[in-house]
Symmetry: C2
Subunit: 275 residues, 2 copies
């Protein structure tokens, strides 16, 4: 398998270095030779997006994605409408920052079946397409790990994401593939090939699954710290035609507690050695 020998396709999510502000992420990523950044929306609260965009441009940073929209399903129709409003805002923010896509964590409501939640997801995404198209921003469905099926995503496999994406059949809707959520699936390679054939791979997220994992949200590992065949999965995506950024998305109390500048150097080493 082919290793990576430079940082031209390295992107880091702002949430990976959670202690930093958006400005700190931009300046430190740039200083470290990292060209891609995926921006989490909570960092934009109270900020002037034009200034952030100017700072990104001054540092020649490419915004790979805005994270995140979604959370479509709800028993309550009014709540579903509020979710659409928030997703339109996310699209506006993405456009303002020059982000080509918004990542969707699609949601689930434990008071109803997964099937109904999936229908509401499809309906919600479909309703957003005109606004996405008008703003030139794509929507990337991110299937999550089945351990989040209770409340975060009724879409828990790449097969399901492919199904819904092909049913929607819009150039403005595709898929974000995250190794953390999907590595356990023995259909993963086939579904990646299928996703690529339909030109639906919009993003690729990497991190690792630690053994044991002790927290449902914030115990991810840096690439190489766990058991996911990350390089194998990256090569399947490349076989399937993907040539975008490899986005490092790690949530870890353990790693957030470290000096974030030193941590960024560890991320770069881990990227070359294990991605």
């Amino acid at each position: 398998m082919t290793s990576i020998d430079n940082f031209s396709k390295l992107c880091v999510h702002t949430q990976t270095t959670k202690p930093w502000t958006i400005e700190e992420c931009i300046s430190h990523f740039s200083a470290a030779g990292i060209k891609g950044i995926s921006i989490w929306r909570h960092l934009l609260e109270g900020k002037d997006l034009k200034s952030i965009k100017a700072m990104l441009d001054a540092h020649q940073m490419e915004v790979v994605s805005l994270v995140r929209g979604g959370f479509f399903p709800a028993v309550d129709a009014e709540q579903r409408d509020l979710a659409l409003e928030d997703n339109r805002l996310a699209i506006d923010q993405a456009a303002a920052l020059g982000a080509p896509l918004v990542v969707l964590v699609c949601g689930a409501d434990p008071r109803q079946s997964l099937e109904i939640s999936r229908q509401q997801i499809q309906k919600g995404i479909t309703a957003l397409i005109p606004h996405a198209q008008n703003n030139g921003v794509k929507l990337a469905i991110e299937p999550l790990h089945p351990m989040y099926a209770g409340d975060k995503s009724a879409l828990v496999s790449l097969g399901q994401a492919n199904d819904i994406c092909e049913a929607i059949a819009s150039l403005w809707v595709g898929i974000a593939i995250d190794v953390y959520h999907l590595w356990w699936d023995n259909e993963l390679k086939n579904e990646i090939i299928r996703c690529g054939k339909n030109k639906n791979i919009l993003a690729f997220h990497v991190c690792d699954w630690r053994v044991p994992t002790i927290d449902f949200l914030t115990d991810r590992g840096l690439m190489g710290e766990g058991c996911i065949p990350i390089r194998q999965i990256r090569m399947w995506l490349e076989e399937a035609g993907f040539d975008g950024y490899n986005e490092v998305e790690v949530f870890s109390e353990r790693l957030w507690a470290q000096d974030q500048k030193l941590y960024l150097e560890d991320i770069k080493k881990s990227y070359l050695n294990y991605t």
Copy 2:
């Protein structure tokens, strides 16, 4: 959907009332009108199995299963041999207690691929068949939730368990279906029907998935406390021809902290109302 109106098919796992010894489980389950018991092996350490069997018989308790064998995969061949030895011991213990089956948590070794682990699982189970047959004890493969793929089970769906079970094709090998592990899978109904057609459903475990779930092992809910469509899944099993016990298998620090006799009454209510 049809509810249950009596306790004739109620079985409780000893681990559900973890604070109790095996003797306390037998006497309290029996006093509560519960006829089925699934026995966890650690409770047998240092015990005389003939005395336990006599106590079970005196209380007219039916042993539904012995829990658990498995953990076949390992990079190290010697470790795989040790696992086989332990599984033979489990079969001996099951025979001594009159348990018709041993539940297998099949294992995974994070240092090798899931595919290799699955091959080792198939080889391990196949190696046990003569001993199982000689003792009249069946082996029930239990596919676990994908959140355990790192170390506890390379089998993470009923489809995979069906594949391996059909490949082994022995009357002594079948499957234990647990709602906690499998509820998220949109192929679940189809795979239950497939499993039933091949006469491979050996056991059915119930509990619930709490939202949010805060621990990977010990935050299960009692039926009705979470979002699993338990009754729906039970009816799929019955459609598929299963007519065995419904086994309540709940691991919960929260519920273990309660008075276990009162908790047993809650289990019975939850069983009638939500199973």
